[in-house]
Symmetry: D2
């Protein structure tokens, strides 16, 4: 299963760089496969591993912010082999007949 | 904490009514405070209660659909008293000086 | 088509009440059918009417906040009659055989 | 401004590869800066350019699907220079003192 999430701290100014950095530190330490982009972080794994990591990331941001809002998007496809983090776009590129920007 | 979520079954046709009904059945049985709207369901509770319920809802939909995508939106504000499910809009209505449609 | 959206102001403190009130004022003045909930506002209409309203709401929040993030969820079903804002849940209640909390 | 969006076709089976490919074709032809990831596509531009492109992408998917749901996430920061599509993560990497996977 794939999960993209972003966590937005409120009450700590308009910049989110420090907050995103602290989240990515937790994600990197978890060892779960991930990819970061300009709007969020995508992780791949089972439900419990993903949700436990996402919880720790929220706890990390809540250390410095009095309130957070966040969005999670899930894509769950039980029968599919692993590594959809990269394979999903590769299959799209095959259909397009060319590469896309990543 | 408040969580709004919707679960979209793929590979089962364009209607989502049966799927939404099965999710709301699980939500009602959980006993957690909730409100349904045309685009999703909002539940209120602690992280673990909410995520355990959201997981059961996904499992329910995955009984009939080979793939699901879903969106969760969280609003976490540790110091706030309970019942933000109704109080949040009431405080907005106070500022507006009139009721909003719900 | 249905659209649920919420707009989160950054750099203006942790409260969102004033911002939500200013958004709902713009929505009410638009005349488009809407329903507010604890996590966002759902409006019903055609693409251009909805997006023009959503743009004005963002402009309103940007008058006071140096940055905003927002989420929109769309449900577009061309052949369906109007008033899905209330009919969608009614059809779910029929399947459930009982009312849900709204 | 940055916008990440994904469009989910309903009533066309569980695979989304063809649909994503047709969306990315429209995005590439638009000339707007973009980056695709496993969960959506991020584009950068002004409100009207972005929304006009996002509308065309929806129209493209609706040619083959009787219903679509979609999610858009916006990050609007008026004073910031362009190329936040790549600069946002670079500023995070500076804070982390190392690269992140992209």
């Amino acid at each position: 299963m794939l999960a993209e999430f972003n966590i937005i701290p409120l009450g700590t100014g308009e910049s989110m760089g420090d907050s995103i950095a602290s989240v990515l530190k937790v994600v990197q330490e978890s060892g779960l496969p991930y990819k970061a982009n300009a709007m969020g972080t995508i992780i791949e794994g089972g439900w419990d591993d993903i949700m436990s990591l996402v919880k720790r990331c929220h706890e990390e941001v809540l250390k410095k912010a009095p309130r957070v809002t966040s969005t999670l998007q899930l894509d769950i496809r039980p029968g599919k082999p692993q590594d959809r983090l990269t394979e999903k776009l590769k299959s799209v590129e095959k259909r397009l007949g060319k590469e896309v920007k990543k």
